[in-house]
Symmetry: C3
Subunit: 270 residues, 3 copies
């Protein structure tokens, strides 16, 4: 079932307009190439509508924002909606500043998302419009899992988007069905932008599988988690987080539909 998502993605080779932060842009581009898609990373207001129009899907990542770039995210999102392209939101640190909170709110009000992926704090911020946020790479304090799941479902019901919350346990929900995924490795928190990379990967999968956004998002979470495990198994005694970062992308490059099918484990809650 999930293997088919990868197969479709490698077949269709979606071109993703990936508007992301400058810290992880290179990794996002390389993970998109690893999975069989490709990327244009343009983020200036004057050209994003045209760039979106020549792509198949759109990823909006709110990291390293400027007012002009946030306006461009909004413009690209609206253009993608008009064209029927799937839009994925990664609300990086959305509670961290007034600038991001305001942009997050505008995006929620004016753009329809196929999927929204964040950590527990970011998703809570989008649901509640509040919450302090410490750090971008990982949550310092995890909320109880029940409230995380509740937030995810509520955000999904409110927006119509598949909502993905990553943490020790990953959650994927369409507001009705909810998947819990326990893949991955704690050391992934030591690789900057592993969340951004997952959002980019998800952008490709959802775009290549437009009729199955829930399964596409689930597949992306399982791929990233499995690849985190495979890459961890490859670490030698001298390897650290820099080699780990490369090995994760390498594993995405090499993962076959059969390996995903065989390896992916998740609980379903309905």
């Amino acid at each position: 079932m999930l293997g088919e998502i990868i197969t479709q993605n490698r077949l269709r080779r979606p071109l993703i307009h990936c508007m992301t932060n400058h810290v992880t842009a290179n990794d996002c581009a390389n993970i998109l190439l690893a999975c069989g898609g490709s990327a244009i990373m343009a983020d200036d207001y004057d050209e994003v509508a045209e760039i979106t129009a020549m792509c198949d899907g759109l990823v909006l990542n709110m990291g390293t924002p400027t007012p002009r770039k946030l306006d461009a995210l909004l413009l690209a999102g609206k253009e993608a909606n008009k064209l029927g392209h799937p839009v994925i939101l990664d609300p990086v640190g959305v509670g961290s500043s007034e600038l991001r909170r305001r942009a997050g709110q505008q995006l929620m009000e004016q753009v329809r998302f196929a999927a929204i992926r964040g950590n527990a704090t970011e998703i809570a911020t989008l649901v509640q419009g509040t919450a302090a946020h410490r750090g971008v790479d990982a949550d310092i304090e995890e909320a109880p899992i029940a409230s995380v799941e509740e937030n995810a479902k509520r955000l999904s019901q409110k927006t119509g988007a598949v909502v993905i919350v990553t943490g020790d346990t990953d959650i994927v929900t369409d507001g009705r069905l909810l998947y819990r995924i326990h893949h991955g490795h704690p050391m992934m928190k030591s690789v900057t932008g592993s969340g951004c990379q997952l959002s980019a990967l998800m952008g490709a999968f959802v775009t290549a599988n437009p009729d199955a956004p829930l399964r596409a998002a689930l597949a992306a979470v399982c791929v990233m988690g499995l690849c985190g495990e495979i890459a961890h198994g490859r670490l030698g005694p001298l390897d650290g987080n820099a080699s780990y970062r490369n090995y994760i992308i390498d594993a995405v490059f090499n993962l076959t539909p059969a390996e995903l099918e065989r390896g992916a484990e998740y609980e379903i809650d309905q």
Copy 2:
């Protein structure tokens, strides 16, 4: 003959003002260091003229543009011309938006280039002022090779620049002589910014060999292609595009003049 280009480059250690996109800036800086040059990456309008003046050569890469940055490319290009520094243009996605088309046109009109390197679509856009462009990392649809060569020659004759078109076959021409190079590996398309890296490398080689821009460009294409092959030969079963990216730069670091001399193969057409 080509080995001498590397030797001169390692001897002169050119300092390149490398104005590039934020996706591949790190890789461009590292490949410049790998080949024996070095880089300053500054791209703000208020300082680029001064930065250009303290460097030996200039690379203008149009990726992730903003109006301000494009103005800075133009300013730096004119300053480099005034100082007699070689200028290399990488017209990334020049047909993708009105913003880039306009900037591409201004650059063509107001700056003299020593070399222009792009894919078939980008070069066609510069020659014809039109053409749609899909993707940045690779051409989805390759034009017939004869028309690619024709475009390259015409652009070279029009501008006086050495023109380099990269694709399955790479082309290097000064409008009269034309080289066809078959080095490289298809997997290089899975590494983001391999074209940007080649342009940066070419910036160093052309700058260090000011009397031989055609041979310097040919050497850069051969080095990148050979290193793509060497790096591919090094890939283990778990390696993917992330490790490949590192191995390519590693190979540039280690390539000797003798290895280039021995390994480089190309056809000449005149």
Copy 3:
């Protein structure tokens, strides 16, 4: 003694607001994660005061500046001072343009720094307000070591900051005590942003050890140098500067307090 600096850092896991250039931002984030800290990389004027307030320490790196970003560095620096957070300055290429010279001067006048790390030319520029500067990655011409030490001490006395000058010999001084460190490997000059990475690492160490900025800075210099040696020892015949870059961060990830204690060698001059 120095091992304790790492221990404290891994215990306190400082969150660093790291305002850096887009060339080395990814490496800075990953080295901060490698050492046990973490980073937010935000650099827009509209949000930096809020971001600084939610972090524990601040690193200001002047690379790839824009006027707006330099204003943001200044604002964040003043906010950090108000909150009592340590501020580290990396005056990348501060003598290279009028834009940077002016920003450097404003930062020196309006922000109190816990530590300032640069190469000999950058430190000389801050002391003297002049000096030409060629290249960013390394000094082409090293000044005599005695004058470098004199400049470091004077800058420290003038600012109250610990001053660190990196070069063939690294210098750490609080204006009275002066350490000379001979660790590292010449090949580190072939990795872009090794200086930026050291400044980021130092930001974590100084923040996690607020009562011992001199020892924290010394520890950071020794860690980076030792890890440069460890990583160099790991290089195979096909490895070059790209793999070296990864191995250095890997080594930081794996370095133990005992290894630092055992390995760190330095001279003290008082």
